[in-house]
């Protein structure tokens, strides 16, 4: 018996990211109607970008300007006349003559349910804006029953695809589980994970090209995992923290912030200072977050053209020397002066 191996196949080329900026250069335009307003945008603009152009607010969770849209959360759905189902505005390109409704009963219903389904299964306590949306869409996550208690560590990862235990009718199933603290730099609190794929995209093809994490498992048991679910220090992770930068829910959080939140010393309103990272010649813009005179976190602005929000381990985590007052550190400083 012979097997054909007709050679390698062409790999899928990822399309360019549909950011507003890149689309503004397109020569042709399309005109569409959004909530009875006519708007003309460059060809290739997403419906979401077109909505934002005219000030129509659309909630988003899994969308980020610097990443390929995965349209997984479905909170940004809108109704397009003639389409059988709702469409994700974050990834759907605007078309000539398209008639879009962003506030129809169907749209409101799906957004409300998406919020209810998420809020009933995931801890959204550190997700910005979600409380406002829950109120605005009159979402009532508690109507599915009381949330199930946290699963012991490791049990969600062990679920076999295609099999699950019969539901416990006392509770609404959740992804609640203990936080994973396996390194000094950042915490993975998957009880807060909405599976938006952003960290996977940032770690993989969109930014870092490290591919230390992926979605594993299937269905409700799908989860973000390192290879073989090993602890981060044993994985391919390079601690750039670019996953933290894109996480919309606080499931990925710098250890400094996580600890301060646990101690009650964190304040969302705090001073920030932009500076340039001192380590190498790239000159990434650093935003230093300062609480009570101490640097507590470093980020980079998403809209910065050089970094697009990305840093490396040094820029993101290597700032402690600035305020290290230990005797050993004084020594180092002293030695350096010679």
């Amino acid at each position: 018996m012979t097997a054909v191996h007709t050679g390698p196949l062409v790999q899928l080329q990822r399309p360019t990211i549909a950011t507003d900026r890149s689309r503004r250069t397109a020569a042709r335009t399309v005109t569409l109607t959004i909530d009875a307003q006519s708007v003309t945008v460059p060809e290739g603009t997403t419906v979401l970008a077109a909505c934002r152009e005219i000030g129509v607010e659309i909630p988003t969770l899994c969308f980020l300007d610097t990443l390929h849209p995965v349209n997984a959360c479905r909170i940004c759905v809108v109704e397009v006349e003639g389409a059988r189902v709702l469409v994700p505005s974050c990834s759907r390109a605007a078309e000539e003559g398209m008639v879009v409704h962003t506030d129809s009963p169907r749209v409101k219903h799906s957004r409300k349910l998406v919020l209810e389904l998420l809020a009933s299964s995931v801890d959204l306590s550190t997700t910005p804006q979600v409380a406002e949306w829950i109120e605005a869409y009159d979402a009532k996550p508690q109507r599915f029953g009381p949330p199930a208690p946290p699963a012991p560590a490791g049990t969600r990862e062990a679920a076999a695809p295609g099999h699950h235990d019969e539901p416990d009718v006392r509770y609404a199933a959740t992804v609640a589980q203990p936080s994973t603290i396996d390194n000094e730099l950042y915490v993975r609190d998957y009880a807060k994970c909405i599976l938006c794929y952003k960290c996977v995209e940032a770690c993989g093809p969109d930014h870092q090209n490290t591919f230390a994490i992926a979605v594993a498992g299937r269905g409700f048991d799908a989860h973000i995992s390192t290879e073989f679910a090993v602890p981060l220090p044993e994985s391919a992770c390079v601690y750039c923290g670019n996953c933290i930068a894109v996480c919309p829910t606080g499931a990925l959080m710098a250890k400094t912030e996580f600890d301060m939140r646990a101690d009650g010393t964190w304040r969302d309103a705090h001073a920030t200072t932009d500076t340039i990272c001192p380590y190498c010649g790239v000159g990434c813009t650093l935003t230093l977050h300062v609480i009570d005179g101490e640097i507590v976190k470093a980020t980079s602005p998403l809209e910065n053209p050089i970094t697009q929000g990305n840093l490396c381990i040094k820029g993101r985590f290597g700032w402690r020397f600035v305020q290290n007052r230990s005797a050993a550190a004084e020594d180092v400083r002293g030695n350096g002066a010679h």
Binding site: L113, S121, E157, G162, E166
Partner: protein, 651 residues
Amino acid sequence: MDLHLRHAAPTDEERAAVDALLGAPSSAWDGGARGNPLDGHVSYVGGRTTRENRHMLLSALRALQARVGWVSETGIEYVCARLGVPPADAWGVATFYALLSTTPRAPRVLHVCDDIACRCKGAAELIEQIERTLGPAHAHAPNGEHVSVDPNGTVWMRSPCLGMCDHAPAAFVQQAGVEAVESLVAEMTVEKARGLASGAVIPNEQRESRNVGSLRTVASTSPDSSTALGMTTQIPQRGQPSLRLLRRVGVVDPESIAAYGASGGFDALRRAIEIGAERVIDEVIASKLMGRGGAAFPTGKKWEAVAKQVARPHYLICNADESEPGTFKDRVLLDGDPFAIVEAMTIAGFATACERGFVYIRGEYPLGAARMQHAIDQSRAQGFLGQDILGTGITFEIEIRRGAGAYICGEETAIFNSIEGYRGEPRNKPPFPAQAGLFGLPTVVNNVETLANIPLIVLEGGAPYASIGTALSTGPKLFCVSGNVTKPGVYEVPFGATLREMLEMAGGVAHGRALQAILLGGAAGVFVGPNELDIPLTFEGARAANATLGSGVIVAFDDTVDMTQILLRIASFFRDESCGQCVPCRVGTVRQEEALHRIALRKPIGGVAREIALLDEVGLAMKDASICGLGQTAYAAIESAIHRVGVLNSK
């Protein structure tokens, strides 16, 4: 990209399994030996050629599973080194498929069907008996936990529909090892289970071939051709002169190219080449053939859209991932007339300018895969496939890809990701497959039964073909009739028969029993009541009755069936088979199952009416906001059972 590998080497068995599929590694750059290990990091300078073979990932994982009985860290890492895939990515793929075990498992596994059609034939009771006899079903051990595995042991697991509804209750058995064996088991009993668990030879055995991870049938070497004809000899209408799609099934040896040729085989291919690609498409358009996989999209339109795409190459996929509960027609065609599928694919490839086609066969169909591989090999050897087909200079190659236990991979874009070596998650549309499909290129995806119509259309002409059936539903159609009927099986009729006629053809319910409900179109279809038997089974008739034909499923439930349990099973099915990508489906299928369980256990939150309202609301969001057809139809059958048949009225 830097591959971070944790382990030095795979076991000898794992290496052998993967090398048998991919060939020996050429150098240290693709997983071979190297003298100077650099800190566990292998730098893939110029690794593009390695990475271009990522589409072999699922086949390689299947090869490990078949040889070793599970997919280990060392095995996965070796595959990663061979294909340039990051281990985290490969882990994501390995943990997606139900037929792959990422924890140690006994080499012999019985997958016992627990789905709706088998439940009509006592599957629930059978599973209870098996549980008593063989102990509890196998479950994954938590990561890191040490598991002892009996190297000669057998475990059993529940399985979703195996596409053996005409032989319910069914099972699928896998035996790992150097000579791996897989087989579907008809009319499963606790005695058969006990026998298989104590090492009995697996019936209708299919051996995993060592070089491609595809299968070779042992039956083909048997002089007794009745064994070679296998289970498909049992189609009820066998040999009837009115048959078109099924005319060879059970009559013509599916493993003989000579017999195929003598029964008119390859005449359509010759005719197609003679009239040219454009004419073929014109005839298919004129035939008004609609896709038979469930979506009923006009095939000619699909072909035309791909044919005119400028981007090259084009790809063709024959979707044989038949997994819709209650569907088994494609299995019958693959098992019973594989050369016809090869011929039809070749015509389709020729018409739409594809030089390469894939047939994606669900992992639970070993006989179909073996017969297809045999048919492909024979066709190539005789010049009907490959380069320079029939001396005309036309090139078309077919490769088999096998699923590994994931209903979602039958979705037309999830199938692309599965073939490419990614998780079988559907893509958002647009872009449609005709524009950007497999590997981002224009792709035709056709169901097996759809393709089986192509030779008929080419030979008869599109217009004469269109005169069969009704004005809007043309041609012959296969219906999979199962559940509580006395003669379950695949039945072929010209479009236009009513539901009543189909049930009568299958013998109706047993004497003394009354019909309670009928499921049309599978788990993604709708239930209708016994008062709706005059629904014409045409696309337009079903639509007018607010029903669907789906993939041609008709499951009859008599008055012995607890319909609430059937609904719980359907809800459980969607919760298991959701890929988990989008929120409405990932969480909605869980909430749907929970609400139904609360109703069934008489513990509703705020009363049954409120729970049904909740189900309606969740169902609407799944239908409106899910990415693909799975989520969009996950409530369809349950909704119809509640509101149309009144299943929960007594609760």
